[in-house]
């Protein structure tokens, strides 16, 4: 085992906090990453937690992790492996044995590294480090539990309650390790526990003691200093994808001058969108927590008929349940945003893990010819932009839009520069341009082919819509064969026309290279980092990343045709590749797929792609 005791200057570092799901690792990680962001670092975080709320204490099933990647350069991913791993018990060590970099620091609570702890974690010996074959690491053994108890000795807390604060001792130590002043952390804690002054005092005491502990013992490990980022000046916060989706919808409703409505049923990992919007009664957001997924979308369809910006949020199993109602929105032609925060599937699958395997369901998962717009966000912060654009397209083109995100960007956070709505395009609900005596519910805008959205309460424009096929202008029920063909065609063309209103596909990296990586949605950070790494090593490589899936950008065929080797990388069995093959002629697509409930790692992409270069 190597030992060193120096300050290392770093451009970037990856820290992973891991412990029992009751150990407060998510809070610890969030505080540390926010603290770093305030100090001028870029951040990207990724929580990795079990589906169980409290699995048996000390077992592998209950291990909850939070990884943060911080640095002075553009940080695109939460990082592959950790430079510093903080483990609260032997199970957390075992669960993360492959998540630590060679030479990295493992800080562990020596008070939990005992026979009972080893047994719960399934170790056969009393030396977990040897048993796991961990050699090239720096160990920092800290009596976290004992020190926390000592820190709170004499306070009102019994020792069991006191132990709950040991995550703050760990946070104090990590702040010392990274030369972070802890006063900002105290500010955050003060806000979080403002209504629980005793817990606040205890947490701050333990945090400060943890910091001083590191200082005093001069632990024989390296400490780190990370330079400030030189990103664009401005006001920033850290935001996760679910919150950014909620904010994007609020912004779009305001811009369009519409009331925002959400109908939703609790489902992991999408529920935070509902939580965020339910808390925004101050802005007038109306949220129904519905009796089931179908009612979630049905109430939203009703709200859209009544003239609101209507949204339903869900994850894969919920999207399946909503299929028939989505078809109604397609058929009746109503604006609707359906947010699908994808998770591991099929069926209940891996609720807390990430995957991109709902793509084909979003594109095709309905009866009949049922086209709609599909958009995918690619980073936690651009969930704001694509939620905004999904709402804009839904409203202006009078169509349902499915916005795909996933567990990785929904729960992961990134730095977000607070936007000004002046920088965002106007959203104009298409109202009838003719007098009520001439108006018919399926008259269309000649450019976009949308019908006009007239809502109950408007004098003179009474009309009826529905799920039955209808006459192409009057909206009256029609089973005429030619009319049906016409309506099927016009619903498809309306969606295709959206391509005239979205950006063209651009290439990142070496445009002139032979090899093109193709991705969509949440894999953007990993793909771009892989491209950067390959280019730094002198390789020529390009990336085409898609946010607009249906319709594809107008120049997709032309751009993709320029490359002789195209590798479509996605976290599913090859769904986007399958889709591209159906849309793009004369191009051969190779695939790199991973379906492990985890995001890509940059290194696996670099290794795989290098073989082509």
């Amino acid at each position: 085992m190597t030992k060193s005791n120096k300050i290392i200057e770093l451009e970037q570092v990856v820290v992973r906090f891991s412990g029992d799901s009751g150990d407060g690792m998510q809070l610890t990680g969030t505080l540390f990453s926010n603290l770093s962001a305030i100090l001028g670092n870029e951040i990207s975080t990724f929580p990795d937690y079990p589906a169980e709320i409290r699995a048996p204490h000390g077992t592998l099933d209950g291990v909850s992790g939070f990884q943060v990647h911080l640095g002075s350069q553009k940080i695109m991913t939460p990082g592959d492996k950790a430079d510093v791993l903080v483990v609260m018990n032997p199970a957390a060590l075992k669960a993360n044995v492959h998540e630590i970099k060679p030479g990295g620091v493992i800080m562990y609570d020596e008070n939990t590294f005992n026979t009972a702890g080893f047994q719960k974690a399934g170790f056969e010996t009393e030396n977990p480090f040897v048993e796991l074959g961990l050699k090239d690491v720096q160990l920092l053994s800290v009596p976290l539990t004992e020190m926390t108890k000592l820190s709170l000795g004499g306070s009102a807390f019994d020792s069991k309650a006191a132990v709950r604060s040991k995550n703050m001792f760990a946070l104090g130590l990590v702040c010392w390790l990274f030369n972070r002043p802890i006063d900002k952390a105290q500010d955050f804690l003060t806000k979080k526990f403002s209504k629980k002054p005793e817990i606040l005092r205890a947490n701050i005491k333990v945090l400060v003691d943890g910091y001083h502990y590191g200082n005093n013992i001069h632990a024989a490990v390296s400490t780190y200093r990370i330079g400030k980022s030189n990103i664009e000046k401005g006001r920033y916060t850290s935001i996760n994808g679910n919150k950014a989706v909620a904010y994007g919808l609020i912004a779009a409703a305001q811009k369009a001058g519409l009331q925002l409505f959400l109908g939703s049923y609790p489902i992991t990992p999408a529920s935070d969108i509902m939580h965020e919007l339910a808390a925004r009664k101050d802005i007038g957001v109306r949220v129904i927590q519905s009796e089931d997924e179908i009612a979630g979308i049905s109430t939203a369809i009703g709200a859209s008929f009544a003239g609101n910006l209507a949204v339903t949020s869900t994850s894969g199993p919920g999207l399946a349940l909503k299929s028939e109602a989505i078809g109604l929105a397609v058929m009746a032609e109503l604006p609707l945003v359906i947010v699908d925060v994808q998770r591991g599937g099929p069926s209940t699958g891996l609720p807390t893990k990430t995957e991109q395997a709902d793509l084909l369901q979003a594109l095709y998962g309905r009866n009949g010819e049922s086209p709609l717009v599909v958009v995918a966000a690619s980073t936690p912060d651009n969930c704001f932009d694509y939620a905004y654009m999904a709402a804009k397209i839904a409203i202006e083109h009078v169509t349902p839009v499915i916005l795909l995100t996933d567990g990785f960007i929904a729960n992961g956070t990134a730095l977000w520069k607070l936007p000004s709505l002046n920088d965002y395009p106007a959203i104009e609900p298409p109202r009838a341009i003719v007098d009520s005596s001439e108006w018919k519910p399926y008259l269309r805008d000649p450019e976009k082919l949308n019908r006009y959205w007239m809502m109950p309460g408007t004098e003179g424009f009474m009309h009826r819509i529905g799920g039955l096929e209808k006459h192409c202008i009057t909206g009256e029920i029609s089973t005429d064969p030619v009319n049906h063909q016409k309506m099927v065609d016009v619903r498809r063309m309306k969606v295709e026309k959206v391509a005239d209103f979205i950006p063209l596909l651009t290439i990142y990296g070496n445009e002139e290279s032979d090899t093109l990586l193709v991705g969509w949605g949440s894999t953007y950070g990993h793909l771009r980092s892989a491209v950067d790494e390959l280019r730094e090593s002198g390789k020529k490589i390009a990336l085409a990343h898609f946010n607009y899936i249906l319709p594809l950008p107008r120049n997709t065929n032309e751009v993709l045709s320029r490359y002789s080797k195209i590798i479509v990388c996605e976290l599913n069995g090859g769904q986007f590749a399958t889709y591209l093959r159906s849309q793009i002629q004369g191009v051969t697509f190779q695939q790199y797929n991973k379906v492990q409930g985890q995001p890509f790692e940059v290194e696996e992409l670099v290794t795989y792609v290098s073989a082509f270069l």
Binding site: S229, R280, S290, T299, A306, G307, M462, H463, G466, G467
Partner: protein, 336 residues
Amino acid sequence: MSLPSYIPQDFKSDQYVRWCPGCGNFAILNAIYKALAEVGVSPAQTAVISGIGCSSRLSYYMNTYGFHTIHGRATAIATGVKVANPALSVWQFTGDGDCLAIGGNHFIHALRRNIDINIVLHNNEIYGLTKGQFSPTSPKGLVTKSSPFGTIERPFKPADLIFGAGGTFFARTVDVDIPTSVEVMVEAAKHHGTSVVEVLQNCVIFNDGAYKAISTKELRIENTILLKQGEPMLFGKNQEKGLVLDGFNLKTVMIGKNGITEHDVLIHDATTPDFFLHQRLAAMTGPDLPIAMGVIRNVSEPTYDEELVNQIHEVQSNSSVKTFEDLLESIDSWEI
């Protein structure tokens, strides 16, 4: 200033009505036109939501805003309409299959929330549009295409679901009795909260005669009781029969016999929160007891849409966050 007044014709669309000749829905539709004219909300402020089934075609025949949706979901869609714009008068027309089978979950939860919508439940005890399968209200033993040896299922009584789910308004009528239908629909419209009007409806093709015992005025006089708020529960040609409570059950008595006078008869109170008697009344099926018609339950409780709007106003009066820009101001952020 006088309010605009409407005639039934104002609510009639120009669409050809496509039900089978003799269908009970024609009478229900006429009652609706009359009721809406009497209620006096303008067609532009009225939204008619329906699901799938014969009765659900009704939205096309109304000169209001109308939405013919998908099977079972009309209650949820109507809920969304009302929450999005509580100023609208929202009506849902639905059948026993649409409302109580595929849509049962939405139905009970609308009642639980007491959202202010008016549900007219056309109960013909059969699936008509799919050509004659038994429904959740078909009587046990009914022989249909999907129960060739008689259904072995126990039927729902819609009223039991309504009371069990916390429903605040329940009325019953029969298709051919247009005056009573108009009267209870108007009461349903006045009620704040989820109102359900069960219309016993004859399906002339697949379940003809299901309500034969009450199909004529003469039969209704003997076999039904039209309940009126605050009035004694009397029925029969000369109001010679009355209802009394006998233990936990209702009993028909003859006025003037065994010393029974009009004063011994129960007085109808639709407004009492306890639904014990409402349930007993709704459960009467004849022949010893009359089938209850009219407004059986009409209880005042806060509605979901009112509560939601009130909560929004309350939060708004205590918050400085009014816009997206205010929201950004209110969150943790820092200068870089």
